[in-house]
Amino acid sequence: MFVCHCGTNIAGTVDVEAVADAMKSESGVVYSATYQYMCSQSGQDIIKKAIRDYELGGIVVCSCSPRMHEATFRKAASSVGMNPYMVEIANIREQCSWVHKNREDATSKAITLARAAVAKLKLNFPLTPGESGVTKRALVIGGGIAGIQTALDIADAGYKVDIVEKSPTIGGKMAQLDKTFPTLDCAACILTPKMVDAAQNENIRIFSYSEVESVSGYVGNFTVTVKKKARYVKEDVCTGCGLCTEKCPRKKIPSEFNLGMDNRSAVYIPFAQAVPKVAVIDSEHCMMLKENKCGVCSKVCTAGAIDYTQKDEYIEEKYGAIVVATGYEPISLERFGEYARGMSPDVITSLEFERLTSAAGPTHGKLVRPSDKMKPNTVVFVQCVGSRCEPSLGKGKEYCSKICCMYTAKHAMLTKEKYPDAEVYVFYIDVRTPGKNFDEFYRRAAEEYGVKYIKGMVGKITPDGERLNVSASDLICRKKLEIKADLVVLAAAIEPSPTARALATKLASSMDTNGFFTEAHPKLRPVESPTAGVFLSGACQGPRDIPETVAQAGAAAAKVIGLLSKERLTANPCVAVCDEEMCSGCSVCGNVCPYGAITYVEKEFRVPGGRTKARRVASVNEAVCQGCGCCAVACMSGAMELKGFMSSQIMAEVDAICRTSR
C-alpha cells in the first residue's frame, strides 16, 4: 500500500499517515508507506524496492486519478517483474481531497477507497496484452492547409498517405484568402506551392471530389471505403486546358469559389491553381446530364476527357491511422436580420471581402462596392457577428471565433492601403490579439493606418438610398453613433464543417457541444482524438488561425509517424470475455457493441449423458474490443465480463465500501 501526499494536494486535506496506518491492519496488506510524490523517481524506487523485498503479489497506490499516473505505476511494477495489471489505483485526490474540506471525513473516505482497492486487487489476475500489426498507410480527411501539411509531413517521413477532399480541388479556405496576417504575404503564394508539392509527392494520393463512405477496424488496421463522386471528366486524361469551360453554354451558375460574387459554367475548374487541375461537370446544371441535350464540352475537348456515363466509384483501402482535418465554415447569417444582409449587396462577410480584394477574385483585386462597383469611401467592419453570443438569444455561438480580430485588422489595413482617404471603422467587443507579432499588427492598423476602433456593437444596419445607415453604440464615449457607410463587412463566427458530424459517427469519435472534435486531453494530448488511431488537425478541433493550424498539422503528423513506425501494436488486455458455458447466444451484446467486436459462433458443448450439442455463443475479437464494458452491462445471463473489471471484482469493492460505512 503506497499512499501519496501529492505535495499538499492530498496531504492538505487527507491525513495520509492515518490512511497508511489504518491499511497496515487490513487483511492481505503486508507493507504500507507514504511518500511526498509517489510518481517521482524516488517514489517509484520505494515501490520497486518493496515489491522485491516483500515479494509482493500486487500493489495499491492511493494517489491521483488513474488517467494521470496508472501507466507510470504499472511500468514501475513491471520493471521489477510484476504483472502490470496487478497494480490498483485508489483515487484519493480528484475523488477525495480535492472535493472535500473536512479533514476527518476526507481521511475516512480515503481509507474506504483504499480498502475497496485492496478488495478488488485480491481478485485481480495477471493479464497479457495481445498484439496486432500496423498498416503503413495514413488517411487524411480534408484537403485544406491542415490536411495538406499533415500529408506532406507524413509523406516526408516515407509513409504512404491519402488525402480525401470533398471539393473538386484541394486548398480549402486558405485558397480563398487574399493576404495572411501578421505578415501580409499573399495566401496563394505560400499555399499553392504546397498544393503542388502534395500532388507531385509520390507518397501522396489525392482523392478529390470524394468522401469517406464508411470506416471499420481499429488502430493500425482501419478499413475505409472512399466514395469518388462522378465528375464526368476522366481525371487522368483531362489536361486542364479550360476550353470546355469557355464553350459551355450554361454560364450563369454562382461560383462557389468566389462565394457567388461571379459566375461559372456547368463544366468548370474551381480556380486557376486548382489541384488537381481537372474540370468537373456540375450534374445539377449540365443540360447533357439533365436533358441529354448539348454535349458541347465533349465536342470541344481535344483530349477526349469528357465521359457523361461516369458513375460514382467506391474504393476500399486499409490504413494504420486516420487524421481528421475537416476545417470550418462561417455560420449562416440568416438569423441576423438586423444587419440587413438580405437587403443590400453592400453588406458582405469577411470571406467575401477576401475574394473582393484578391487579385484572382471577381473584381481582380479592385475593392469596390458589389452594388455599383464604385469605390467605398466609408467602410464599417463589425466583429463578433454570431461569436460570443448570449445563449438566450437562440442564435450564434457562445465561443470566441478567435481569428476575426486579426483578419479584421488585416482587412482594415488593406482597405486603407488601397484607399488612404477612406474612413474605416471597426466595431468590437474586445480586441483579442495574442500571438507572435499579432498585437503589434493590430496596433499598426489603429495607430499608423488610422483605422477607427470603436468599442461597441452595431445594433442595426439600414439601407438608405445608395448608402448604409449603421446605428451603433460607442461604449467608451457612451454615445449612440449613426454612420453612413458604403460597405459593411461582417466578421461571421466560424463553426465546424457541416460534414464533420456524420464523419464523427463513422469514426466513433466524439464531439463537444459546439460540434468540434474532442481531443483526448485538452492540454496533454491535443492532437489525438479519444479514439485510438484517429488524430485531429486544424479547425475541426476548434477555431484556429493558419500558423496554429500548420503547427497542429505537424504535431498530428508526428503522432501518425510514431504510430506507423511501430511494427506491432500492444493492445489493451482489459477486453471483454465471454463465459461460453453461461452464454445463451441472445445477441444483446453484439447489438450494443459500438465497435463491432462481437460475433457469434456455433460450438459443440458436452451435455449430460456423454453427448455433445451445438450451441450459438458470443465471441469477442480482442483486437477490435476497446474495453468499454457495454456488453458486460447488457448481458442478461452474466456471461460477458470485462477483464480487469469482472463483476466479482466490482462487487468486492462495493462490499468493502459498505462494510466500512457501516
Binding site: 436580420g337 438586423e338 440587413a340 438580405g342 437587403m343 442595426k460 444596419i461 439600414t462 439601407p463 438610398g465
Partner: protein, 273 residues
C-alpha cells in the same frame, strides 16, 4: 365555429375602433367567434416594463385566468396589450416570486392563469385559421398594392418571451399581406420603435423616429403602411403630418384589420384596386 376569448383593451373601444370592429367581424367570416371576456380592465399599458410592480399586471392575470376558466385561447389585437399579457404569462410560469405575490393579491381569482394560451390576432390567423384558408376567403384581392408591414417593438420583443417570430427578421405580417393578394414590402425600419410614449414628453424625438420609419418604407417603394398598434399608428401619422409635402404625397398608415376587412368584403374598398 372556433370559440376564443377576446381581450380588446381600452384604445380599441375609443380611438382605434377600426381594430376592434373589423377584427371581430372578419373572424366570424373565418369561422372564429371572438367572445369578449367580462369585466376586462386596462392592461397596464405603459407600466409593463416596471418589473417590480405587480399591481399593474393584475388586470392581465385576470384576463388570463378568465380565458383559462373558459378553456378557450385568449386573443388580443392591440400589440401593446398583447405584450403585457404575454409577458405576464411568462412571469407567471417562470418567476416564482411574482406568481406568489400575484396569488397574495388575487387568491382564487388568479387560479389557472398560467395555463392560458395567448394568441395575437395575427397569430390566430397564422396558427389557427391558416393563411391558406384566409387566402381562400378573400373576395376583394388587394392586387398591385405594395404594403409595408410595420411591426414596431412590442409585437416581437423580447424575442425569447414573445416567440411570435424572428425578432430581427419577422415574416408573419408579410405572409398575412401576401394572403390578401397584396405585395409585401420588406424594409429595414419595420421593427424599429415608433417613439412610443416619448411623444408626450419629447415630441421632437418621437417625430424623428416615426419619420425614419416612413422614409424607409417609402424608399423601398411602399404604397401604404399596415400597423397593428394604435400608438404606432398615431405616432406614424403625426410624423407624416409634420413632414413637408402635400397630403397626396404622404403614405397612408392603416390598421392591418382594415386591409383584412377590405379583402374579405366587410369594408368598402379603399386601398384595393
Amino acid at each position: 365555429m372556433v370559440k376564443v376569448s377576446y381581450y380588446p383593451g381600452c384604445t380599441l373601444k375609443n380611438k382605434a375602433k377600426e381594430l376592434d370592429k373589423y377584427a371581430v367581424r372578419c373572424a366570424e367570416i373565418l369561422g372564429v367567434e371572438m367572445e369578449e371576456i367580462e369585466n376586462w380592465q386596462c392592461c397596464g399599458g405603459v407600466f409593463c416594463d416596471s418589473s417590480d410592480e405587480v399591481a399593474t399586471k393584475l388586470s392581465a392575470v385576470r384576463a388570463l385566468a378568465c380565458a383559462a376558466r373558459r378553456k378557450t385561447p385568449l386573443v388580443t389585437v392591440c400589440t401593446a396589450c398583447h405584450n403585457v399579457i404575454k409577458r405576464t404569462l411568462h412571469a407567471l410560469r417562470y418567476d416564482a416570486v411574482f406568481s406568489e405575490r400575484v396569488r397574495n393579491y388575487l387568491g382564487d381569482e388568479a387560479k389557472g392563469a398560467e395555463n392560458a394560451e395567448v394568441y395575437h390576432y395575427l397569430e390566430l390567423l397564422r396558427d389557427v385559421v391558416g393563411f391558406e384558408t384566409l387566402k381562400g376567403k378573400v373576395v376583394n384581392e388587394l392586387k398591385g398594392k405594395r404594403v409595408a408591414a410595420y411591426y414596431g417593438c412590442l409585437f416581437l420583443r423580447p424575442g425569447s418571451v414573445m416567440q411570435t417570430d424572428d425578432a430581427e427578421d419577422p415574416r408573419i405580417m408579410e405572409s398575412f399581406i401576401k394572403s390578401l393578394g397584396a405585395e409585401p414590402v420588406i424594409y429595414p425600419m419595420r421593427n424599429e420603435c415608433c417613439g412610443a410614449y416619448t411623444f408626450f414628453e419629447e415630441k421632437e424625438a418621437a417625430l424623428k423616429k416615426g419619420a425614419a420609419v416612413l422614409k424607409s418604407a417609402e424608399n423601398f417603394g411602399a404604397d401604404l403602411i399596415a400597423a397593428a398598434c394604435p400608438l404606432c399608428r398615431y405616432n406614424l401619422e403625426s410624423s407624416s403630418k409634420s413632414l413637408p409635402g402635400g397630403a397626396e404625397k404622404k403614405l397612408p398608415v392603416v390598421y392591418f384589420t382594415e386591409l383584412l376587412a377590405e379583402a374579405l368584403g366587410v369594408k368598402e374598398a379603399r386601398y384595393g384596386m
